[in-house]
Symmetry: C2
Subunit: 340 residues, 2 copies
């Protein structure tokens, strides 16, 4: 089974965007009326089609990352927007339960209290059956006014995650800073930054079962793995394996073979989760290969690694990091067997 | 000949630091009195010793990067600090002219006018014989309040660089933002950010002979080369080779073999300049190899590449990107021949 741990609903029907526009215009609109057919169509022609074509089975699916827009400071707006986005993802999951599992957007605001985020996380996990959340480490959107991930500011959220047994993908949203292109700088910088914050701190001594997925192949981290091993040493931190690698995971959203080869060479197979981010940052066909840039399964297939490692990357790690997904898959297998 | 294009005077005598402390305390101290012997000692025991031990010949040498501290807003302070730092580097070069070439610190301030930077660049190149400069793309020190490198704000400096025929290494300084560890996040983020700004813009159409070196192996860029090729395509920019690679260069400050292997695999040999950053971010011995992390010559030696490429990386590219260095080396060769 092949699980893609990082897909976004970037193709939501236009009415959803119109709802958001009305919201940002200061109105208090109700969430858009969107039919099941519209949702089916928006997914079948896009993520689901590509998942099938490329041989994937299931995608951990979250609202569009760049549209989370946590920089909008009004907590009421943040809350109703996150709710609407998550409800829509939940409907996708309900329509295609074998192919999608929900991962929620949190109603964060810049330095705002995390109560609403905890409440929405609980709702999504306990009522909607979601298996994880996206945590924005820079709600300011490129101004980086928030506190590092090791700061106690974040602890209420970590406590809820631990209790609910769901991981977070550390994923920033749109950039409001002209220095940072969202897809080409802000996302990767946030990934790199998150890892270094975790290296400097001691978060997993306090939360030993907390699990964080750093997307986009871990930003710059695997390429500079020697630098991080050396910095851990220089800063008097424990070796990375014991300090971080029981709790931190990288996805495979790296859009060329040499990058995936490096990832597989330096990062333990236990810490890599297959993902494509489709339909995400990079669309279209790489003229050098003739295949889509974000068809990352090809790169993992071509990785010089034992089949056992590939199975971890494609399936087993995701089931371990997202135990609620694993539970659902097991229930389905049991059901399938009893039917058989 | 082996040229290391990225070394900092991180071992300057303590009196220099005391001068800085007095300056930051609001005094107007004269630059420290430092003897030639003190300078010799500070370099012979450190950078020069390592250069010799590791088989290097010459280092392009600049003031300590993290101490540039361009976030200090007073332009008078910035100017006298840059002058003192550059004068000290100039004395190192004067004492060991075969082993060091100067690269200057600019007296930048957050969003301050660049007149003083242009003046100091001219002084360093025309009077002190420096061959390049370090340009801080985020003088705010991690708050990123400045304008992208493609903004006309920077043009006066680019015009002077083009006229003087010197490149800039894009190198940020200390981080004042608790989110960003300077060595483990801020530096790499700045590298990644610079490349994406250049990709988005069209700077080299305006300045076709401008040359920029992105240090630390280009941040996250080579690891995500497919992402950048795909983004260029998606954003309607020309292919990277024609758009950027005549003007942008990456150094080899990547502290493990797999990282250098990736760099050599995806980036044309014409665009890679040997560097170690010693004594810089990462010090000490990698227990996995038994050698110093920043002994990057070993990784380049082990690179699976033709000798011709290695010669470009070790020498020829640096002489091409830093033509004033090349001119000096040629003069020395001619002199050596006439003595011979």
């Amino acid at each position: 089974m092949i699980i893609d741990c990082h897909g976004h609903y970037t193709t939501a029907p236009p009415a959803h965007k119109a709802f958001r526009d009305a919201q940002l215009a200061g109105l208090d609109p109700p969430p858009a009326h969107i039919s099941d057919d519209e949702i089916r169509e928006s997914v079948e022609a896009n993520q689901l089609r590509l998942l099938r074509e490329r041989g994937g089975d299931l995608m951990i699916f979250s609202p569009q990352a760049s549209s989370m827009e946590h920089h909008v400071p009004d907590p009421v707006v943040a809350h109703s927007w996150a709710r609407a986005c998550n409800d829509l993802v939940s409907r996708v999951v309900g329509l295609f339960p074998e192919h999608f599992a929900g991962c929620c957007q949190l109603p964060q605001t810049p330095n705002g209290a995390l109560n609403d985020s905890v409440t929405e996380l609980r709702r999504c996990v306990e009522e909607l059956g979601f298996v994880g959340c996206n945590l924005n480490s820079d709600p300011s959107g490129g101004h980086w006014t928030s506190r590092p991930l090791t700061d106690e500011y974040w602890f209420p959220l970590y406590e809820a995650m631990v209790e609910l047994d769901v991981p977070a993908m550390i994923h920033v949203s749109a950039s409001c800073n002209p220095n940072f292109h969202a897809l080409g700088a802000h996302y990767l910088n946030a990934d790199t930054t998150a890892f270094m914050q975790l290296l400097e701190g001691d978060l997993f001594a306090r939360f030993p079962t907390l699990r964080l997925v750093i997307p986009h192949g871990g930003g710059a981290v695997p390429y500079h793995w020697g630098r991080y091993r050396g910095l851990a040493d220089r800063l008097g931190r424990p070796p990375l394996d014991s300090h971080l690698m029981g709790n931190v995971f990288f996805d495979t959203c790296v859009y060329h073979q040499p990058g995936i080869d490096l990832l597989g060479r330096v990062i333990p197979a236990d810490n890599i989760l297959f993902a494509s981010e489709m339909l995400g940052a990079v669309r279209g066909v790489d003229p050098e290969t003739g295949f889509n840039w974000d068809d990352t399964k090809r790169y993992v297939d071509a990785l010089d690694a034992p089949e056992e490692d590939r199975r971890k990357i494609f399936e087993l790690n995701a089931r371990r990091v997202y135990p609620l997904l694993d539970a659902r898959l097991r229930a389905r297998e049991v059901r399938a067997e009893s039917w058989g």
